[in-house]
Amino acid sequence: MDTKTHTERTFIKRFMFSMFLFLVLIAVQTFTIELLDMPSSMVVFVTLLPILPLIWAFFVYRARFRALDEYMQRLTSEALLWSLGLVCLLSFAYGMLAMKFPMPDISFAFITPAAFGSHGLILQILLMVNNSEE
């Protein structure tokens, strides 16, 4: 369907552009902090700069979710539930272990890619299972 394809194309274009912006801002962040001597307020600003395209990507994804039909929304929500459960339980298990044993340091920054990455992966698995049942 033309409108659906258009929606999907718009989503892919915007999402990929937000990821591109994210990578550019990561580079800007790294080089700026490395090469320039800035006051700490500027360092905080530059450090948090890559979050902006991620916020945009979130709204782009939300717009796509709203454009999905009810069944695809259901599958996407189920994938989100799975990823939420996985990330929460794993981080909780890590936290519990860290209280008792010395554990390797894992940055909080990895939680976002873990959550979104597992969401995308689980959604593909759900779609694959759905298609195999046909």
Binding site: M1, K4, E70, N130
Partner: protein, 64 residues
């Protein structure tokens, strides 16, 4: 619903395009894996020129 679709010689993809939903949604409804919303059920009935009761039966969400 599968029978009604077959009578019109429509593929799941074609019916999905008519209704503005994904092919997966049509497939899930036909297999009884998904209960369509009232709005979608009305659209499905309308496209087949029937009432909702004509397409779906109580306790049989997969339709005819």
């Amino acid at each position: 619903m599968k029978v009604l679709r077959a009578e019109r010689d429509w593929s799941q993809e074609q019916l999905a395009n008519h209704l503005g939903v994904s092919r997966q949604a049509i497939n899930a409804i036909e297999r009884g894996k998904h209960d369509p919303s009232l709005q979608l059920a009305f659209s499905i009935a309308e496209i087949f020129g029937l009432t909702i009761e004509g397409v779906f039966q109580t306790g049989d969400v997969s339709g005819k």
